[in-house]
Amino acid sequence: MTLGGYQIRLQRRTNLPGWKAALISVLAVLFGLGLFSIIFLQAGQDPLEIYKQIFSYAFFNPYGRGLTINRFIFLALASFAFIIPMQAGLWNIGMPGQLYLGALAAFGVVYLFGGKSGELTASGAVVIPLMIIAAMIAGGLYGAIAGFLKGKWNVNEIVVTMMLNFIAFYLVAFMIKDGGPFMNLGGRGESFELPEAARAPMTGGYPITLWFVFILTAVLAALFSRMGLGYQIRAFGKSPMAARYAGVKPFFIAVLVFTLGGAIAGLAGYHYFGAVPGVFKIARTYGYFGDLSFYGVICGLISLGNPIASLVIALLFGGLSIGGRYAQGKLHLPFGVDFALMGMLMISLVAFQFFYNYQILITKKERRLDVAVSD
């Protein structure tokens, strides 16, 4: 294509330097936010003004900041749950199901210690670690189903994890509604509240799960950059065939990445239902929190599977979704602004995937004097 003396053409990239990939990701997010501002324009508001309010509420208002951090923890864990299988070229969209199972297991521990009636038969120092461990085991085992089926028979993991989400969704409903074992004593269709002693301790005003996020970030960064196992996972993701010749066992990798991902998603379930101040129960709207974990897909894709980058993205999206919720109340927008943001960011991200594969070259065209010769 030629435009004003310049030739514009597309060229396939052979390699992509890290800073360019980061730049593309930043542009994708900005473009998504631009798309999102349509919602504010439609409500007759100045998008820049609203964005200013969203950011100041999410990051500078003390109450809003607390919400942002809680959501950041959740989104970071959801992204890790997505990233680990993604590095092996597999899609885990089963975070909702895995986190429901994690939440159920954590509440199961409290139930076993008699916590349903309000008093624990053991001290919190015993029960809380058990809750966390149970949540991770349950999430990990649930994730392992998809990994097992993928590794053993090459069953499509996207459909399987999605189906597992619905199964877990109804399992939660069974446990907390219609007289299920975890139903609260008042008979409302939600779980019993965690007794005081079983609530996660706070450090510096934030739940302890925040520390898990930092530790996991370091562990994952080390796993993928320094350890042989991380290298195997990535090699398998790049080319399963070549990795197999190099001695990587596909079955092992598939089960491993889904187990690890599921365990982290289980921790996310523990976080939202067992550690966020003011919740401490599996609320009737638990499906909302499950669906929020799909943000993990976007965080994982934008950060190209880098755990540290995904931390930054999770903080940004956590703040945006909390701030979006605030703007929703203020402007009387319909429910689900945070989901609209999720959709806009996702579609923008997909469009920008193009630039990972292609670059646009603009070169000045040499002027030639084309003389018509007519004899």
């Binding site: 969209i93 597992l164 299920g180 669906d291």
Partner: protein
């Protein structure tokens, strides 16, 4: 009992519409895992259009139109831009899920129109689904155009050399796929379950996707599978009809999802693949770059 069968067939017709579109799509070599998102869009926008104007026809047209547009979008991403097809499909799904949650919310609740008429007790769309199955089978297997679609899905480079425009055929297929998914969503929202709620499609798009894998890319088997799933779905909704008092209704609700996984495992097994596995379009999911 009769009502049970009728509702099963009506669920089957929705799986069939969405599945047929995806089947043609995949036959041309394009995998669209985002049909849940397209169906959600077709369902939600079709629902809003019909509810606000009181006009059913408009609702269906809007569903078809948005479906075709999203199919085109998937085509643009995966054919023209060469984006990974799974990434693009997942993007369309999350886009559909997120946007329809927001757009549809003010319209939460029943449609509030007279229910559409039936023919001999079953929705006319069921007969349309049967006709479409035969039609798609005929076009794919008995016409030159169908041969073009299949050849593009198997060996695009060979098809290109023999004078077929891979890009054009694939675009036509993805638009058809999107249009059928959007229509399936509209039928769901305007006839089968005319009460809007967020994410009310309950994974039917993903089940339709699983059905296409199940069908071995044959429209007749797809239809058989759709009827099977329709029956299962109804059974899960009304277990007391056959097994009174057995297990909670929430446990029963899991049944179709568990069945989907079991069916997928069965067709993915070596035993199955070694017999019928060769039917998979050779270049499914691989972008084609004209050299």
């Amino acid at each position: 009992m009769l009502l049970f069968l009728i509702r099963s067939l009506e669920a089957a017709m929705i799986f069939t519409f969405a599945g047929l579109g995806e089947l043609v799509d995949q036959r041309s070599g394009i995998l669209n895992v985002g049909l849940e998102g397209i169906m959600l869009f077709g369902a939600t926008l079709g629902f809003i259009a019909a509810k606000t104007t009181g006009n059913y026809l408009l609702g269906f047209l809007v569903g078809i139109g948005i479906g075709a547009l999203l199919g085109l979008l998937h085509g643009f991403f995966s054919i023209t831009l060469g984006v990974d097809q799974v990434v693009s499909g997942m993007g369309i799904w999350i886009f559909g899920f997120g946007m329809t949650t927001y757009i549809g919310n003010p319209h939460t609740g029943p449609l509030g129109l007279d229910k559409l008429a039936t023919w001999f007790g079953v929705s006319p769309f069921f007969y349309l689904a049967v006709i479409m199955v035969v039609l798609v089978w005929f076009v794919l297997n008995k016409t030159g155009f169908g041969l073009k679609i299949r050849s593009v899905g198997e060996r695009p480079s060979v098809a290109e050399v023999s004078g077929i425009s891979v890009t054009r055929i694939r675009y036509m297929s993805v638009i058809f796929g999107g249009l059928m998914s959007g229509f399936a969503g509209a039928v769901y929202a305007l006839y089968y379950n005319p009460v809007w709620n967020y994410n009310f499609l309950m994974g039917w798009g993903f089940i339709s996707l699983a059905l296409v894998f199940f069908s071995m890319w044959n429209p007749y088997i797809l239809f058989g599978g759709a009827v099977l799933f329709g029956l299962l779905w109804q059974l899960a909704l009304n277990p007391q009809m056959f097994f009174p008092g057995l297990a909670s209704r929430y446990i029963w609700r899991m049944a179709p999802f568990i069945m989907t996984i079991l069916v997928l495992v069965l067709i993915s097994s070596k035993w199955f693949r070694s017999r019928w596995g060769a039917t998979k379009p050779e270049s499914l999911g691989q972008p084609y770059h004209k050299e």
